[in-house]
């Protein structure tokens, strides 16, 4: 059965800290891995990863995929209170739909 596991499930840090969120997966016929940020409303797209070892970067956020070890990490440097959200990892497999993890709830304290 396809599955996506995120860790930790929740994390509390202080502004300025650097955090690393983990996502491991078991999916038949992997196609891509996506990261989303979900505050109170719609999940907003962050990254789509299809190739191993190529870091994608957007401001203070970056992500990388390891297709051999079947995981991805999302890094956030110099965290701000506005980074507080649930971060969702999703993988597209052979069934033709996205399989989401449960998310990591990040709380950034001032």
């Amino acid at each position: 059965e396809d599955k996506v596991v995120q860790s930790p499930l929740s994390l509390v840090v202080h502004e300025g800290d650097t955090v690393t969120l983990n996502c491991s997966y078991e999916v038949t016929n992997f196609r891509s891995l996506l990261w989303y940020k979900q505050e109170k409303k719609a999940p907003t797209f962050l990254f789509m990863l299809t190739s191993s070892g190529i870091e994608k970067k957007s401001g203070r956020l970056s992500s990388i995929l390891d297709k051999k070890e079947l995981f991805s990490i999302l890094n956030i440097t110099a965290t701000q209170t506005g980074d507080s959200a649930v971060y969702l990892c999703a993988v597209a497999g052979s069934q033709g739909n996205l399989i989401f993890g449960k998310g990591t709830k990040l709380s950034v304290k001032p």
Binding site: Y36, A42, F45, T50, L98, F100
Partner: protein, 119 residues
């Protein structure tokens, strides 16, 4: 519009009633998806449309759930004879690409969802 629009934002219904949830995708987006998100969980796939064709409905939990997209733009998710376990946020997402590009270089963009509460 600029993004995916869903209505209503909140829906409260009594057990046994039928409900209809609407999704307006981003203009020009070929692919449309419905997801169900329970509290504290990630979204779970329900169904996928490419234009007006429903290509995958494997995630619909029962035959009480029905989705349509008759003209290839707006979609409606209908739930008949609602049960308490149907209470969740229903998310709609659209993508510019069609299968299989949607999973290689065209991400899905989500609406704010409809929060459905069944009493």
């Amino acid at each position: 519009g600029a993004g995916v629009s869903q209505s209503p934002r909140y829906k409260v219904a009594k057990r046994g009633q039928d409900v209809a949830l609407r999704c307006d995708p981003i203009s020009g987006h070929v692919s449309l998806f419905w997801y169900q998100q329970a509290l504290g969980q990630g979204p779970e796939f329900l169904t996928y449309f490419q234009n007006e064709a429903q290509l995958d409905k494997s995630g619909l939990p029962s035959d009480r759930f029905f989705a349509e997209r008759p003209e290839g733009s707006v979609s409606t998710l209908k739930i008949q004879r609602t049960q308490q376990e149907d209470s969740a946020v229903y998310l709609c997402a659209s993508s510019l690409g069609d299968w299989p590009l949607i999973y290689s270089n065209q991400p899905q963009h989500f609406g704010d969802g409809t929060r459905l509460s069944i009493l």
